[in-house]
Amino acid sequence: MANTATVDELGHSPEVRGKNYLNQTAGVWSWLTTVDHKRIGIMYLVSVLVGFGLGGIFALLVRLELLTAKKTIMDATQYNQAFTLHGAAMVFLFIIPSIPASLGNFFLPLMIGAKDVAFPRLNLLSLYLFWIGAIFMLAAIVTGGVDTGWTFYVPYASGVSTTSVISATFGVFVMGFSSILTGLNFIVTLHKLRAPGMSWYRMPLFLWSLYATSIIQVLATPVLGITLLLLIFERAFHIGIFDPTLGGDPVLFQHFFWFYSHPAVYIMILPGMGVATEILTTHSKRRVFGYKAIAFSSVAIALVSFLVWGHHMFVSGQSELSSAIFSFLTFFVAIPSGVKMFNWLGTLWGGSIRFTVPMLYGIAFLFLFAIGGLTGLFLGTLSVDLHLHDTYFVVAHFHYVMMGSTAIAFFGGLHHWWPKMTGKMYDEKLARVGFALTFIGFNWTFFTQFILGTRGMPRRYYNYLDQFQPLHAFSTYGSWVLGTGFLITFICLARSLKSGAPAPANPWDSATLEWQTQSPPITENFEKAPIVTLDAYERPAEETA
């Protein structure tokens, strides 16, 4: 800008000052037709939080039912629907889109110094597809529920269940397209729209994790699409591919399903790892240790994730050869995950650690991911899996990974970027209370389930042996603490929208690009296209001196 005399500290000219992406235009219509990645990210954020709330309510109901060994509040049919909808809502409405579609959409262009994603209208279409899919899923809930479990195993889902399986699976099918389009958009954006000087190795590591995630979204989701189509046709027209009475193979469905759904586990966790990396480096004021190791381990996880789906099927009746191959390959996912863990610790070493709210979430992530990852070794070990498969041990394990790692990273990222997204600071004290209750409640609820599982408690049980009752009750009490924690967090964030102090451009003193524009950013992100001259997380010389 020519008028250098009146620019503010961020270089904003008078015409721009006070304007941002939130107040540029107003009205519902301006939001529904926006192609601004930030607004789309915000709409995704609201949507996934609604999904999280929905899944959370079902989770609390499931836990409440399990308070006693027989009927507590609902009958077996309602219970089966409750755990199915908890799983389906959490996986498809919350975790899969959570970080990439909300935080990713918002920050990916900002972090590479671009004005938008490569295909802004496609981005909006992806949001609409997500909503349409969600409507089909909600329609399924209203018109008879779903009781198949979120895995939709045949022949139960294709022939026996009398619930609205088709509506639910069609919803997931449509949401799959949304996921594909987001991934495709991110890949092209990262290839084509990086600001001058922003080489691949200067990108923040969150973007490497999103890149790896996008690869999985593009490569794996179509297989889910064809799987669900076959399931829908099986149910509607008895085409027989999965139906044993017609010569089909029900185990084949599991291959199809897990070829997507196992990589999907990494669609869920990889962005969480990326967020954790950003948090740990920013709040320890330390450059990331082992940048390339973390970057390549993300891509390695994405690629290896395609080779291990059969570890969900060790007792399914698949061939012994397959099980042995899958077990062997499964252990190799542990290596890049371990490499990340070590490098995160390396990042803390020699830093200046501030225990801000996001940092608390970041440290909790390390703790919970360590447990989630290490307990995965039990399940990858063939003989041990014979005992633990489909018990509460598995339930506890994947909650530590999905909830303890991804959701905690998501909320950490939300606290980290909240000032940038909303332009408001939140009440640190209240946020800490929310965090503490969440962390304690989570471990309380789910560590208990490791004990239940090794002792032989099968999952998806409505009635159970009396001997498990004390531990189940204990777990249920924990879920109340956990629920309270999230409630306080939501109240804290909602209050900040109303009465939070205005956020400065860079409250955490971070080195990455998204903090180099105002909070909240202007619609074009940067007034002057940034030119990158420093490595990732590197600070200008006078600052580090």
Binding site: A118, F119, L184, L193, L229, I239, G240, L246, D249
Partner: protein, 226 residues
């Protein structure tokens, strides 16, 4: 499909030929062109894996019910399948030429070639219609709907399940492709394309070639070797 729609970037609204407006978030036309095409290629990857699931099912059940697959494939009409192969290859050829004439600013020729492509696609569907109605009449249907009595081998319904799923999904792609071709044909008539901006033509072309590519594998597997 939508990938293609977006492949224009934000350029759709502008006055295009001879100079069109580069979308604000791209630095130059060439980047925008490349981005669009990369998006389409990534989209084609998803198409390959979508059909891939069915190819996987084909491989597994062919191995499991081999005699049934051999017997069932004799009930498919090689002549109709062969005609459709030639029709689709021809359409691919005219589509490729349409892209070429768009590159060379030959608007009228582009329109003509797109129209021929469209006609070929329609013919493909007509032949498909006759094939389907014949199968339905004979009771050669998927799984539980299979009613043809004179089958010696077990589980022919599986073959026809795969046949109908594969050709059905392929047929849906042909229909979507026709919509896309029609759309660029109309835009071409409004003189929106030029040698400097023909990305939509090229990207729809890529999609159409993929539809051809899938058929190139479907035809021998289903009709010729079973």
């Amino acid at each position: 499909m939508s990938a293609k729609a977006e492949a224009l970037g934000g350029a759709g609204e502008s006055k295009l030929s001879p100079q069109f407006h580069v979308a604000h978030h791209f630095d130059k036309a060439d980047t925008q062109f490349d981005a669009g095409r990369m998006g389409v290629w990534l989209f084609l990857v998803t198409e390959i894996l979508l059909f891939g699931g069915l190819f996987c099912a084909f491989a597994i059940f062919r191995s499991k019910y081999f005699p049934s697959f051999v017997e069932a494939h004799h009930h498919l009409d090689r002549v109709m399948g062969g005609i459709n192969t030639i029709v689709l290859i021809t359409s691919s050829f005219t589509m490729a030429l349409a892209v070429r004439s768009a590159q060379k600013n030959e608007t009228k020729k582009t329109t003509l070639l797109l129209a021929v492509t469209l006609a070929c696609a329609a013919m493909f569907l007509v032949v498909k219609y006759f094939e389907y109605s014949h199968k339905i009449h004979d009771g050669l249907l998927p799984g539980g709907n299979f009613t043809a009595a004179d089958f010696a081998s077990g589980h022919p319904g599986i073959f026809f399940a795969i046949y109908f799923m594969m050709t059905g999904i392929h047929g849906v792609h042909v229909v979507i492709g026709m919509g896309l071709i029609l759309w660029i044909l109309l835009r071409n008539q409004k003189n929106e394309f030029s040698s400097r901006y023909y990305a939509p033509v090229e990207n729809v072309g890529l999609y159409w070639h993929l539809v051809d590519l899938v058929w190139i594998f479907l035809f021998p597997l289903l009709y010729l070797v079973g």
